[in-house]
Subunit: 327 residues, 2 copies
């Protein structure tokens, strides 16, 4: 039973004091000595222009949107950080058109910030700076089906038993993915720190790669993290020492079927090991293992599944329990 | 004087029935016969995984956000289409932190849709499909300063006389730009048509390249365009024949200093020529030449300049004058 059944309130609309967006972080990069390039700015319209690959550009910046509710209940901002190969879209409308966690947390009264990681989505990237050596990767349908635990085989098209994934909207889900480099993690951690400097101490709700990087941010800038909710992180922390970060309450969330995929089995074990050490060091850590709680059928993409609000209610309860909202 | 002084209402917040997002358009692309690629998913964390460049991916889809006001006054949806090298961000918060046209039109009671063009922002792109032959271009600081008429020389750093551009926030402006290919125009036109099929007949407010492409959309699907506001298009229409599109009311908007840059001088002349032919063919076309109306100092980026709401009021007046809103 939920302490605060926010989902009942979701029939009402969204009332905001304000909403907007900005970029944070990044660096000016100056490029010299390359030949000019001629392009057709509007494609096939015969208006060719010369563009200069040299000069100054921005690289490594991050885009974030903000939504300030009319009635603020969260005692600090709440930041949503998406996973690898995705953008902030992952927390917006679900593939089958239901509201996502962005709307949920705004409606609960959180000043909510939705970021696109560096080089993803509206953050942009700088081809001229050549900061990434590898070519970017866009996951294929098989990968986003199997790796993220919708089912064992995309080819067979069968979901795992009891799946909560809106499979009839699989393409809407697959279309959310964007190309990713693997070399942008440090830049993203830097930009996340800049974002926290701007928002002030905040709750972070992060998914997958976003959650993995959130542990690094927590290690670097514990004074800026009021609490961390790590949804299916793939690894946790970089330096193995907690330092001041032991004062940050941490909640892990894992969905179903982790035993059926070696990478997620390991990810869950890493989380358990980290959580154990964290608590023995005096930390306030807790793991929500959904199937152990009787909530079956969630994949890695639990924030877009049929019971996404039921899970969000658990997060909201935990935040209330930690005194982070006005009830 | 404005018929409907919306900007006076902007002290109040934003009340929505709903907000969300989705992708439209694109095609499944199947790739075969390439060798597997090994990547480190989280960068330097030592967890290398094998990704398959083969298989099915989506390419050519477009991302759009929607905002449905509590009190709807627009008689149809209003779609905001950004310019080349940008994303929907161009219509959000201005570089210096004031509300942009997105908030303006929502507050005026329009069901407002904000899109990222194909391969830009949250629309994503597919490196494996190799649909684009050229390398992408990110405009440098010089280009976004000079080409878009902030001033004559970025190196000298001087704005044109009477400029309305928030120059102290130049980096926030420059950070909005994302890489662009020149070969995505046809895909974007296709995706815009899919978007209109989803929203139903709509008003389009489009900037720069978005406006140029909007004329193509209007030629292809005139029954889906209730009105077009083309803000500084660079060219207009592709086939030179109006057909049914002569029934769509069109408003052009041009800022200041067009005479100081040959490309924009030509763009304005193209618009005048098109508008003249359009009206002689029975069309309802009008050009708002801001300096001719006594509104001086606007660059190509007028939706983010100090008087952005003064200009938006002119657009809103025109829409009211065309019976497209409940007053």
């Amino acid at each position: 039973m939920s302490l605060y059944d926010c989902s009942k309130k979701l029939a009402s609309g969204i009332r905001l004091q304000d909403m907007g967006s900005f970029h944070v972080g990044g660096e000016d990069v100056e490029i010299c000595g390359r030949p000019a390039k001629e392009i057709d700015v509007n494609g096939k319209c015969g208006r060719r222009i010369v563009v200069d690959p040299n000069g100054i550009r921005r690289a490594g910046q991050m885009y974030a949107q903000y939504f300030i509710p009319e009635t603020v209940k969260g005692r600090c901002p709440l930041l949503l950080w998406h996973g690898g190969g995705m953008t902030g879209k992952a927390f917006e409308t679900t593939p089958d058109g239901r509201p996502g966690w962005l709307n949920y947390f705004i409606r609960c009264g959180w000043k909510t910030y939705l970021a696109d990681a560096v080089e993803r989505g509206r953050s942009g990237w700088c081809p001229e700076a050549e900061e990434f050596k590898e070519s970017p990767t866009l996951f294929n349908y098989t990968y986003v089906f199997e790796r993220f635990r919708l089912g064992a085989s995309y080819a067979k098209g069968e979901l795992f038993e009891n799946s909560r994934f809106p499979i009839n909207s699989f393409r809407q889900y697959a279309m959310q993915f964007v190309p990713r480099w693997t070399e942008s993690s440090e830049l993203t951690v830097k930009a996340y720190c800049r974002l926290l400097e701007r928002t002030g101490p905040s709750v972070i709700v992060a998914h997958s790669q976003g959650a993995t990087l959130a542990f690094e941010v927590m290690e670097k800038r514990p004074e800026l993290v009021k609490a961390l909710i790590a949804v299916e992180p793939y690894g946790a922390g970089r330096n193995g020492r907690f330092g001041e970060s032991v004062n940050v309450p941490v909640l892990w969330v894992f969905g179903d079927y982790t035993d059926l995929h070696p990478a997620w089995k390991e990810a869950r074990e890493v989380a358990r090991e980290y959580c154990g050490r964290f608590c023995r060091a005096g930390g306030d850590g807790q793991i929500l293992d959904l199937p152990e709680m009787g909530i079956r059928g969630n994949s890695h993409m639990l924030m877009m599944e049929y019971n996404n609000f039921e899970i969000a209610d658990l997060l909201q309860d935990w935040l209330i329990g930690h005194g982070l909202t006005v009830i």
